[in-house]
Symmetry: D2
Subunit: 388 residues, 4 copies
């Protein structure tokens, strides 16, 4: 079972969006370890992202986070990125690091705080207009830590009002993408905790409002591929935040914790038509390389997505549907697993070489000297991180 | 802080619906323990339910499960119940015990199986017409055990079609109530696994289609009161299946595992207007008394709901909203907890007596001799259970 | 990276023990679906197990469950098995289906119930003496459903006493293997819920008392391979009950839910010397084929274990230790994943053929006509199941 | 059911140890919110802790964290504390914030790193000698994020060696207390993830090595009171880190998330003799007041423990044991719940006043002006936090 031209053609169109913040330092509440070579500026982050794309041809887009990636001249930044061979992608807003957001942002009881949070999104939309970005992604840290602390119902109503104001400002070519998250940083209740809430909120807004599914934002035991299938069915799967996790929102490399889950997720993407560029599904990474090197961590990540997409495309869907129709449990499962267990890596390496790419991008990175260069050159200044 | 007249008036209107099957035997896949006195017929189940209502005035309705409670003459059964002081409530369908449902019912790949499952619901609606029941409750065991076994997306589409056929048959006074369940008896994927799916499905049907929230059907860590608040906000909370659980769908006595969670749930019911009889929320029990006596188990359950409702009504909402508005985390939480920690039992006992009810219904039951009577009289025949 | 002779030699020694009950009917509390061809007797179960072994050479042992597999003449049963090419393995006791065990067995407050449970184990030991079995495996359903129902501490002390009586009866060549389980059928507390409890109990007994690790008996998020490593380190890993699960104790086919987890578990077995026959680790299956065919379900299972063992043996441990020593996170992980992603199936097929086995045992089974034969011949009688 | 003298006498002996770090700022990886009045020095932390004790008479001990609470003169610090009416308690080591611990401390592959980590514990023991502390508490952040990253087995062996070196240094009056934690900050594997590991490690060390149970460090669904009962039975429950959580290690106020769980835990403490001062169980808090005021947060916490202890002492154990003996599930549970639902707060308020304490310590704190004073006086300098 090899990768035929039909599969390779689909793989050739695959676009994975890198998060600028993956190149910065990150960690836990206990400690953020710094690493040599970490970017100090958004331009350096873009350079690292471009390196990933150069070696893989998989990552031509970079998502920005505002205010972490604020610059004076976004048109210049756009040109800078394009000169590196990448484009600016999703704009991510941030309403969780200003002191006034301690008790919420778009859901806050105080209209002045909500105003400030809405205005921040207006600013993001303005940036999108300059960067040419399609998506405004909203992840909220809003929630409470103690029962009684907040009024769950009132907060949901205020959220709806705030989102409506933001949605009214986006252009017909732009989208509002609402992310949900099970828990953290709020511990008792989260204002957008599940896909149902995100769906109900964006459905009330209109056609250009969609859901972002972060693969690490679910309760244990949740069948994530079911949600993928459902959101595609409802026409509301806007984007993925890919990463993996063993227990909480670990933000590990996609596919690292449960490769078979990633396979099942991508299979449902394909089954629901989500791999078609017209479907508008953005495939983003959202990861933290707390203890591993960042650039190769991103290379590993995009390769994992590519390899798993190749495996999922290998599923013999005709045979599978026939087995499903016949109630042949073991037969259907065997067809499914056969694709998963097929080693697609040699074929992908050959294909990469045929396109002028390194057969082994990680080896190519190690041999490129890039890591040593950035470690040498990026001295002084403040390394980028979540607070910067 | 005592129970004032306003609170007692609200409590006086409280109606909890008992499940007929709670009086039959139940257990686990490992063993179903039989108990003396267990009903052999639906009439005996109704008698037991009526006893619960006689001692508590809380449970004037009994939900039936078809085919477990099938009889030849539902009009006669209705009269029988009314003579005992109770009425027939929700009709629960069953598409999980016939061999042809091994691979699904409303979602099955085979149109003939779907037909049979839809027809079963038509039969249930016909029974509702005779029993005067308002609600058709649908819980599906549909799902798969192995990845690849079924087509998640196709099953969801077929579910929508099947539900539409059923919905078309109910009268304007009736409701279709769709329950969701995280897992079991299917282990890999469940066709209605979460409130979002149930909501999306019933929203597509129309106004008389609503969601049933079983408190034991969620992933660990799920904030259930949030879902209560959200469904009330969306106008789609149709009914509760009350029970409690430590890990899976344990179906223990409501309030037994996490009393504070029950408090928070009922608080959100009140907050969202769900206690108002006009809201149409049915408060049902759905429990299994695997190792404890069944009639007193049900008495304990309705008392738990009543006591917790009393506590939730004690919350000083003006003070709470003021503390929430002020960002006073500890103050708001203290107001909330103060109500929870108040011992409402003495006031409720006094109030019961003032209404001609026993102060301690469990003691009254023990002294009534009812248990001894049913143990003596109900000899021979086949005790009711899930298979009967 | 192919399977060299060293690896194949280790694989050639692999012994997987089949549970007799996997060939009988099983299900959930909602429904047990019957299937044509299901054995009616222990002899028919042994025939099915022998078929699995004939096609795979992986499963020369069959574990029995008492009383499900009780016969009058165990010496005859032993001969019967040996004539089929298999031997009788672990004896599993059952103290969860008699009415007197409703509130516990080895932990029961009533000495008479404990006596009966201990005597049952004496009977099992007597059977072991006749079957030549080494291991007495004890899984207890003991526990409680409600807080306060039982005295956790007292039950633990009584458990210790009961186990000591049983342990005193086994011979120096025999072992007492104590299984732990997180939950089910008890919902509030389980008397042997975790490896720590099983370890503390068997450590108090002596050298011939060890722990059974059922891969489905843990809380979500538990790192099972860590427990494998720890029990091997402590010299107390007696046996595995292999299966897989998505949420609870689903008893699905081993490797079906999370293949990578199985890889990690087997890697730690190898790392800790557990694959060495002298280590005394029994590799058993403990599965329920609720909706899939049973004989091919078992074939699939033993192949999954074999294939994953082959992958785990492929790990380049020298390179891995070097990368671990160097703090090379991505490098170490890559070495680990490289083995996992290698497709060992072609090599294994070739190797099977070289040993006179079918390249594809499942295909060989389908073509053998065995399934049709048992469906035709096994008519009438009572199909085996958990209650039989 | 009121609090009799026997109960009040037991409550009078209750000692809860406050963590110095609870008075500093804390937060999540997303944001640490600062609050006015936060201590800048260990002396200011001690002053805040002393205020809690002054108003409650419950918290005469303060645990220190090294290096966060390092001073030049511990004898002076001890005197300073004693002048405030409190004593210095448990010394907590920290091997997770130095860059060299990125890949572990006591388990590190590099002997030089282990040496540094062991030496840090020697330093802690030296501090204990000066502060008069009994307990050295070790919580390790050691673990890995990716499968293959570390050698689980080797790390466990090195842990044993390192602990043995540390244990050899403590005096006969001192104890080594080893904490376990399910996950975080390591995501794939934790070197001391469960009580079984902690127990196995301390059992190998000797009598003065015991286990610390942090109530927030378990997988979902874990029965924590079972572990309490088991560790007391094994003579190895050294201390509690009290807090509460909804999902992960949320470090919320003890009793805030699941009051009934706290009740069950304290009941097992009493049942196992752990409330007896001779049992040597240290009752510490380990909490983070991320969004609520810190001093009243600690007052709320110690009151929660006191109130729940009072409830647990109210359990009619004679009646409970009789019901358990009789297999009276509902009766036993009712006795248990009766104590939980009893409102002990009025009796405790009266008792407090009789001892010259404020009836309502939180109200007394609010009226004391202390908060305003520290907000006014503690200006400038660097507020204490986890990094300081």
């Amino acid at each position: 079972m090899g990768l035929n031209d039909g599969i390779l053609n689909q793989l050739a169109e695959q676009v994975i969006e890198l998060p600028s913040w993956a190149f910065g330092n990150s960690g836990t509440r206990f400690k953020v370890f710094a690493t040599p070579g970490t970017p100090r500026t958004v331009e350096e982050k873009l350079a690292d992202a471009a390196k990933v794309n150069e070696l893989t041809a998989l990552a031509p887009k970079v998502a920005l986070h505002i205010p972490w990636d604020k610059v004076d001249d976004y048109a210049a930044l756009r040109t800078y990125a394009e000169d590196l061979g990448v484009s600016l992608g999703t704009i991510n807003s941030n309403t969780f690091q200003d002191d006034i957001y301690k008790f919420g942002s778009l859901t806050h009881v105080d209209a002045a705080v909500r105003r400030k949070a809405i205005d921040h999104h207006y600013e993001c939309i303005e940036i999108m207009n300059q960067t040419g970005s399609r998506d405004l992604k909203i992840w909220l840290a809003d929630g409470t830590n103690y029962p009684g602390q907040g009024d769950i119902r009132g907060r949901q109503d205020r959220l709806a009002d705030s989102l409506a104001e933001i949605y009214a400002r986006i252009s017909p070519e732009q989208r509002l993408v609402l992310e949900y998250k099970f828990f953290e940083p709020a511990f008792y209740h989260t204002d957008v905790p599940d896909w149902g809430t995100s769906y109900a909120q964006v459905a009330a807004l209109g056609e250009n409002a969609v859901v972002c599914l972060d693969t690490g934002h679910h309760a244990p035991g949740t069948n994530i591929e079911f949600i993928v299938a459902q959101l595609l069915r409802l026409g509301k799967l806007g984007s993925f935040d890919f990463n993996s996790r063993f227990y909480a929102d670990d933000d590990l490399i996609v596919g690292a914790a449960d490769p078979f889950q990633l396979f099942r997720i991508i299979y449902e993407v394909i089954r629901g038509g989500g791999l078609d560029p017209d479907a508008g599904v953005a495939f983003m990474l959202d990861q933290c390389h707390n203890v591993e090197d960042k650039v190769p961590g991103q290379i590993r990540s995009v390769l994992n997505v590519q390899e798993m997409t190749a495996r999922a495309l290998l599923v013999d869907t005709d045979a599978l549907f026939a087995a499903q129709q016949a109630g042949d449990v073991l037969g259907a499962n065997a067809i499914f697993m056969d694709a998963f267990y097929t080693d697609v890596r040699p074929d992908l390496a050959t294909w990469r070489e045929s396109r002028g790419l390194p057969a082994d991008p990680l080896k190519a990175y190690a041999e490129s000297g890039y890591q040593k260069t950035i470690e040498t050159e990026r001295v002084g200044g403040t390394q980028a991180g979540w607070g910067a």
